[in-house]
Symmetry: C2
Subunit: 563 residues, 2 copies
């Protein structure tokens, strides 16, 4: 059996390695048009930021390793340019010489990844504008930065001559996770960074309020973020000068360096040319065995559409974990096994200036788009570990679950500590079909530096379960306008911020001042995070008052009201 | 309804708070014989170590909060001394005055916790020997330390008089998690610490090789650890001098301070006196609703026996998470709800000198004790996050799973980074009935600082699944004696350590040197962690050789051979 694999990085390389382990006799040819196989795409922003200092650290496995350990005929600088699915051949072009040879296959695996979206914006080809997909891309950016800064650094050598090094400007076009990672790393390299995003928020998989939370956080760290405004053109007057980036609304930004990270589009050229079915979202259509519409051609990774595990929709998920797993499944199937991909939850995380933002499963806006109303959401702010042990940090969490059966649907979280852990827990819970009642009873590691006797996951489960059992009728900030707001915080807390028109009765006085709370209408109870409000609401309801807990309290108000 | 709750910390306080939320009208009396309710037992070692500096930080909730927020009649310094289950009364003794009053109840909740085991060792009551269960215990230890050190510190004030401050010695009796946390914190306070443990390992819930790993790690950090030797007596010749601790084997250790942490025993005095059923392990017997043999008396926390979630055995688990959850369930049931405790997995974690050791579910030795042979184990050493991003650390992991159906049974792990996350994932997986095939397809947060495209959890699942699918026949170090050992590492690696008698053929040369591998007997393939050995074994097996992968490779050998 001869297998040709197109693409030699996450999907291609994983498929080749697994296939060799399963079939020592297969002839495996892996072609990669770029200069490297098996490199760490995900590390590129950190190499630009000099966090990963050596380029060689990005090379996870070498051509030589593929030859020696896996006996894979591994060819870099070799591009697949045409597939003939009837003759079962691929035309391969030597990138260096341009020579094209034709190679036959029994099975073909397409793992060509995705390409950066490059809209036809005037000036997009000017020098100083980069994308970040390959090792050479990162190298070019580093060289550009170092050229720029070494010139200025030289000036410091003139003794007695003091110079204020002018701040360099960078514009990052696109507020997806790669754009934001680049923004952070460019700040680390001393740039004044502006992120331009056409959508009304950064990190569009997040719900708007979490997108706003991230945007505000970036701004706190000195990154300028512009949303709802796309790039209209790039201009450069003179070689020595910075670019000028002009937005659709007419704002202009100087840019010594610009990064294009407008997202990616599945690389489907070969697949289309071969007549393979392309899905509704523009990715190669595959079944759960990663088989395309041609039974001898498989496709994996960023190039394909996969089922969303929660919603069942076709979706495009350009992430390394799914790519690696899909590749392993394709290899299994080619080797005659029955493996199947279970779909993806889109579990993601972005580290930014020491904080992490992560999400998994369905967002509220996805459910709204699907017209799904059988869900509820809660906001909470538990500590990352026991509050009495130094270093505990609040985690802002949003949990989305089915109203009818308690199934966990999705979550979003942000914070300095323990975010990856909690969103990964929820990802696992979603995969395993868990309900909020399961989270309520989860038994996770606890000692003071690592968690709490009630872990944030337990809290999320408890609060959600309380909601479903009818013990904790919820209000959300967006829907209490004009209602009666009862603030049960203590006086000093009110000074920080309070809700105009709210009546304040601290929880400890509530039982004695019940007569001050109206009985003829809904009462929305507020505290800092919702916890005291819940205790208050419990007692009010048992005294005949229609009390609701405003989910997430003042902490959520701060997020929800961010513009 | 009048409810009396005995014990005002993890179980008692949680029960009181939840009960009030569910029932505004109940009369709730919570009695605590000590001076504080709701304190952080788990923080005590860190308060001794001055990591948690202020005693007040240990007080999670105050009596006042219980009165004001929860309208709980909260009485400290009040001991329940007798229960009359027929009259439904409790005798309460004022610890200050000795006065006893009798109080009636409709429902009684026992949350008295556990008491430190204090065997009748000669000298056990001498000054300078402490236990660590309460805030006053921690305060006494701190004062003892500070008295000792302030005397010496004073000497430094004499100008021109240089003194080498003599090292103070501490002996920790008992190598359970509290003992080890105390050892770490006493090292932080400048002590030379010796841990004495009667069993043949520290942290007895772990399997022996992990116990040894921890012991060696402690020794690397300067803690002397003695196993298989108990304390015979404590002696003190003179007030000024240190204690002498003599072991059963006759060894002696000086101790300016000794900590007794020989484990705990359920506090069952009241329950026994009341005629409640006591279980086989010595804890109060309760059903899944936390009801004792008397339908109006509930018991929770360290005082009760609970079902082990994996083995179904009755067990004693003195941990805060289960105590809190059981208490919440007891409150639910008292308030007329149907909540049930699902049992415990014993999920635990200990932080030691920057590393963490954690475990969940069944250990191998528990399965062996039960005569259960339907299990397999794997050892692996994945990186805590992407290896190319700075700060990645290996995690030593042992995963135990059902041979027949792949169900995850238990895990143990140790390392500097990400251990809590992975053991908590596995705890959740066990709770949800997951198999290793589920772990294989888990989709966890990945970006370089936070994980890997294949997370340690995926690796564990993949390796275990490979084993179950018959692709990866395993060997374990304890069972390859005399077999043919093939080492596929590279030459420089052999210099570090190698297996006597092993034949070395680096993986890259194996295909060309197949004739050097015997075909008439089992071949045990070894590399650093097992990964290359697996690739080697795959190719050997497809060439007719009975190859087995030595699980965990040389890294496991180092652990397994620790004495
Ligand atoms: C900067 C950056 C940061 C990222 N960070 C993360 C992260 O933190 N977490 C995460 O999960 N994911 C991250 N990703 C996404 C992740 O890298 C991809 O999802 C994953 O690499 C996709 O694997 P793939 O095999 O489908 O495509 P790729 O890994 O992109 O590999 C495709 C390869 O195919 C080659 N190719 C294409 N067409 C041809 C052809 N015709 N002939 C020969 N070769 C061809 C390309 O040159 C390319 O090298 C990041 C990506 C980038 C670019
Ligand atoms: C030093 C230390 C460190 C720990 N670290 C951890 C950790 O990291 N992780 C973890 O999960 N667990 C840890 N634990 C265990 C955890 O604290 C216990 O499992 C938990 O507190 C048990 O709750 P409980 O309510 O059953 O008992 P406790 O919290 O001990 O409360 C029982 C209370 O009842 C009172 N009492 C007893 N009898 C009477 C009576 N007759 N009348 C009135 N009052 C009475 C006692 O004074 C006591 O205050 C640690 C414990 C200690 C001591
Ligand atoms: C590294 C790479 C070539 C894949 O090679 P691979 O051998 O399939 O993958 P890994 O090195 O992760 O090893 C996984 C294999 O080793 C096995 N393994 C891991 N630890 C093991 C252990 N301790 N004992 C035995 N086997 C082990 C796994 O079971 C798995 O084998 P399987 O798939 O047959 O079950 C490919 O993932 C790659 O190119 N990665 C870099 C590119 C990339 O992913 N980019 C995006 C992220 S930055
Ligand atoms: C603190 C203590 C008194 C318990 O009080 P509690 O009110 O039950 O517990 P918490 O403060 O953890 O709060 C949990 C409650 O708040 C609710 N809650 C938490 N966050 C919320 C939010 N954002 N919005 C609404 N409700 C919230 C939870 O659902 C839960 O209520 P429920 O049990 O009715 O579902 C008790 O746990 C205690 O004494 N702890 C210290 C002792 C101890 O545990 N020692 C061992 C560990 S060191």
């Amino acid at each position: 059996m001869k297998v040709i694999i197109v693409g030699g990085v996450a999907g291609g390389a994983s498929c080749a390695a697994r296939l060799r382990r399963l079939d020592e006799d297969a002839e495996i040819v892996m072609v990669e048009k770029g200069p490297y196989v098996s490199f760490a795409n995900c590390g590129l922003p950190y190499h630009v930021g000099d966090v990963i200092e050596r380029e060689s650290d990005l090379l996870v496995a070498s051509e030589r390793l593929f030859r020696e350990h896996f006996r894979v005929d591994c060819r870099t600088g070799c591009e697949a340019v045409r597939v003939d699915p009837v003759a079962k051949t691929v035309d391969l072009r030597d990138v260096g010489t341009g020579d094209v040879t034709t190679e036959s296959y029994d099975k073909l695996v397409l793992a060509p990844g995705a390409r950066s979206i490059r809209p036809p914006i005037p000036g997009i080809d000017l020098r100083g504008i980069f994308q970040v997909r390959t090792v050479p891309d990162a190298r070019e950016i580093r060289e550009w930065i170092e050229r720029g800064t070494s010139f200025l650094a030289g000036m410091e050598k003139y003794s007695g001559f003091q110079t204020v090094r002018p701040k360099m400007h960078a514009v990052v076009v696109g507020g997806g996770f790669i754009g934001l990672e680049m923004a952070e790393n460019l700040v680390a390299r001393g740039f004044d960074v502006t992120v331009l995003e056409l959508a009304d928020q950064v990190l569009t998989p997040l719900d708007l309020e979490y997108g706003n939370l991230v945007r505000n956080f970036l701004e706190l760290h000195g990154v300028h973020v512009v949303v709802g405004d796309g790039v209209a053109r790039f201009e450069r007057n003179d070689e020595g000068e910075a670019l000028t980036v002009t937005t659709q609304s007419g704002r202009t930004f100087p840019a010594d360096l610009a990064i294009l990270s407008l997202g990616v589009r599945p690389e489907t050229e070969l697949a289309q040319q071969a007549g393979l079915e392309i899905g509704e979202r523009g990715g190669i259509r595959v079944d759960e065995h990663m088989r395309t519409s041609d039974p001898d051609i498989f496709a994996v990774g960023d190039a394909v559409e996969v089922r969303d595990f929660v919603t069942g929709e076709w979706s495009l998920i350009a992430l390394a974990g799914p790519a690696n797993r899909q590749a392993r499944i394709a290899a299994d199937v080619i080797a005659g096994r029955d493996s199947a991909f279970r779909g993806t939850q889109g579990t993601s995380i972005v580290g930014l200036f020491g904080d992490a933002i992560a999400w998994t499963g369905a967002s509220e806006k996805t459910l709204q788009r699907l017209g799904d109303t059988d869900y509820e959401k809660i906001y909470l702010y538990p500590n990352s570990h026991a509050g009495y042990y130094p270093g505990a940090r609040p985690i802002a969490m949003k949990l989305i679950f089915r109203k009818s059966d308690g199934r966990v649907l999705g979550a979003q979280a942000a914070g300095e500590d323990g975010v990856d852990k909690r969103i990964s827990h929820i990802a696992l819970a979603i995969q395993l079909g868990a309900t909020v009642f399961d989270l309520e009873q989860a038994e996770l590691c606890y000692s003071p530096p690592y968690g709490s006797a009630k872990d944030p996951i337990n809290f999320a489960g408890m609060v959600a379960a309380d909601v479903l059992r009818g013990d904790l009728p919820l209000s959300h900030w967006e829907s209490i306008d004009g209602g009666f707001v009862l603030d049960v915080r203590e006086m000093p807390e009110l000074a920080v911020e309070s809700v105009p028109g709210a009546v304040n009765i601290p929880l400890g006085q509530l039982r004695d001042r019940l007569h001050e709370v109206p009985r003829d209408r809904a009462v929305h109870v507020v505290c800092r995070s919702g916890q005291r409000a819940y205790t208050a609401a419990r007692l009010l309801r048992q005294r005949g008052i229609d009390a609701h807990v405003v989910s997430g309290g003042m902490l959520s108000r701060a997020i929800v009201s961010m513009k």
